[in-house]
């Protein structure tokens, strides 16, 4: 599987050419749909280690602008690990290390001089458990713009805009000063999304954002995601295949492979249009997984 993607990291000048080659090997239909030349993030032969343990091996995926890319696969195959590497949240884990290339607008995210703080401002993240700050709703939203030094002419407007963008304004507009912890789980998760879009990122990473929520709250988040693609690129990790099928444009299927020394590494099995993955997967492992035979 990983052999197809072991292309030497391309030289910056010749990037686009190499990229197309890489994608042709991966999937043609996906790139057809929007011209295939606008990936905002690109992973090339990415390995991720925790200390000496290689959790993810040889993953190459392009992430298209203003699309929803889903990552699916059995638990422990490295989906969260991979997601965290896209905005350098892995830097916060002692011993975590990334090799290969992850580019954002063509800029290698792991090059010397790249500031992880700046990366995270441009690539936001929403977590599995809603994690609002133990502060008021208003302060949850205004925190990001304040700490990142955004020039905000009117914070009230920005808070309203962010909450509206996260489809939460109507529900909370009269209690902006109350504690965010008093909200329901689904509202808290939308607050976390609002808080993320308040700093105006380009990409939003979501790690199983609905797995702690009930079906109604989940439906609201899914609707919201569809809305958000007008402005944002979304990468979502989910263990729920129906969800991936419902919301995403592209799907990456990963699984854990056991190599000769008995270690499990996450590897990419297939990356393609979501429709293709769920209707006519080209790999029998994918077929087996989406039909529920393992995972």
């Amino acid at each position: 599987m990983s052999e197809t993607t072991t292309i030497a990291p391309p030289d910056l000048d010749r990037r686009s050419g190499v990229k197309i080659t890489a994608r042709q090997e991966q999937s043609t239909p996906a790139s057809d749909r929007n011209g295939g030349v606008d990936p905002i993030i690109e992973l090339q032969d990415v390995d991720i280690y925790y200390g000496s343990y290689r959790a993810v091996r040889g993953v190459s995926i392009p992430i298209e602008r203003r699309e929803i890319t889903a990552m699916i696969g059995p638990s422990g195959c490295g989906k969260s690990t991979l997601l965290r590497s896209l905005n350098r949240m892995n830097d916060l884990i002692i011993g975590a290390r990334v090799t290969g290339r992850i580019t954002f607008h063509g800029q290698d995210l792991y090059e010397a001089g790249v500031d992880p703080i700046e990366v995270r401002r441009r690539i936001g993240m929403v977590f599995q458990q809603p994690n609002p700050f133990p502060k008021s709703i208003y302060d949850n939203i205004s925190y990001g713009p304040k700490v990142t030094g955004m020039k905000v002419s009117n914070m009230d407007d920005l808070v309203e805009e962010a909450l509206t963008g996260a489809a939460l304004w109507g529900e909370v507009k009269d209690k902006l000063k109350t504690s965010a912890l008093a909200l329901s789980g689904g509202q808290q998760q939308r607050l976390c999304i609002a808080r993320t879009i308040a700093v105006k990122p380009e990409v939003i990473l979501m790690d199983e954002p609905c797995s702690a929520l009930d079906p109604i709250a989940t439906a609201k988040i899914e609707d919201l995601m569809a809305q958000l693609t007008k402005q944002y690129t979304i990468v979502i990790v989910t263990h729920n295949m129906q969800q991936a099928a419902r919301v995403s444009d592209k799907t990456a299927f990963l699984t854990a492979e056991v190599d000769k020394d008995g270690q499990r590494h996450g590897v990419l099995i297939e990356f393609d249009d979501t429709n293709k993955i769920f209707s006519a997967p080209s790999n029998e492992l994918t077929e087996a997984y989406i039909s529920g035979r393992f995972g």
Binding site: N87, M89, L92, I94, I117, E118, R120, R121, R122, G124, M125, V126, F127, Q129, N131, P132, F133, P134, K135, S136, Y143, G144, V147, T148, K177, T178, S179, L181, C192, R195, T196, V199
Partner: protein, 305 residues
């Protein structure tokens, strides 16, 4: 009519069913429980009799004289003697101690809990050292004050020397309590902050510390109450001298409440023994007030805004 006749008809009740209802009284178990309760009872009876004793013994002296009058050197004026200089000395020393040990202790705790990479030997060493320091007898801190701070640094037997020594003495208490408070802040809050592009210090300063306020404040109060009651190290640092004036500054000579009480205990006069009891009541009231503040803070911790 035919409501569960089975049992009535057979007239038989399975023996174990009845046995389940009959709670066996285990004598040994009951005695054991009583013995355990007795242990706690002894401790609390001691506490209660101690408090009652000092209240009764000091009752006649529990009035304003205690705080408005200076200690009297003349045996004939013993009943006019008060503890004002010790009270003001305690206030001075504790204020300075708070100013020094709280920022240092909280900062050290933040470093150890939020910044230190524990795979580095020096960070593990810092940590081990704090634990060790917490177990060093307080009189040894007095020796540090006597040998180094008063003599080598030349600060002499002054308020500032006392405050430095007490700060170092309770520093581990502040650090350990603050670290516990920081550890209780869920990691998800930090991750949420980082994911928005906040820096480490922004995250610590604006998310972690506010969330840890109540634990930190409780620890701070605990540390300061320990410092208020501490006498041993100050014995070596000139606090036992007879002081009839309020401190005039940080390089003033001084005494403090526990030391003044210690001096009174040593004196043979009955009036002064009475005054010692009254002084103890005063000291306990101060500590009780501080502890109540800590409890109020702790109870309000659950409610955020």
């Amino acid at each position: 009519m035919a409501i569960d006749t089975s049992r009535a008809e057979t007239g038989y009740v399975h023996p174990s069913a009845a046995a389940l209802k009959r709670r066996r009284i285990r004598l040994g178990d009951t005695l054991f429980r009583l013995a355990l309760q007795f242990c706690l009872f002894v401790a609390f009876a001691f506490l209660a009799s101690l408090i009652i004793y000092v209240l009764i013994a000091g009752w006649n002296r529990l009035d304003l004289r205690l705080v408005t009058n200076m200690p009297s050197g003349l045996a004939s004026r013993a009943d006019e003697s008060g503890l004002q200089s010790a009270l003001t000395g305690t206030l001075w020393v504790i204020t300075l101690t708070a100013l020094m040990c709280l920022p240092t202790g909280i900062a050290a705790a933040i470093y150890l809990e939020e910044y230190a990479d524990n795979t580095r030997w020096y960070n593990r060493f810092l940590e081990l050292n704090i634990q060790n320091l917490a177990g060093v007898p307080s009189i040894v801190f007095g020796i540090l004050g006597l040998g180094i701070i008063a003599r080598v640094f030349g600060l002499g037997f002054t308020i500032i020397t006392a405050a430095i020594v007490l700060s170092l003495l309770v520093l581990p208490v502040v650090i350990i309590a603050t670290r516990e408070a920081l550890r209780a802040v869920p990691p998800s809050i930090r991750l949420g902050s980082y994911a928005l592009g906040a820096t480490k210090w922004q995250t610590v300063r604006r998310q972690v510390l506010p969330a840890a306020t109540s634990g930190t404040a409780t620890g701070a109060i605990l540390a300061l109450s320990r410092a208020i009651g501490e006498a041993a190290p100050l014995i070596l640092l000139g606090a036992v001298t007879f002081v009839r004036f309020n401190p005039e500054g940080i390089s003033s000579r001084y005494t403090v409440l526990p030391i003044a009480i210690f001096n009174l205990i040593k004196s043979p006069q009955a009036e002064l023994q009475e005054l010692a009891s009254a002084g103890i009541v005063l000291l306990l009231i101060i500590l009780l007030l501080m502890n109540s503040i800590a409890i109020v803070i702790r109870n309000r911790a659950g409610k955020i805004r």
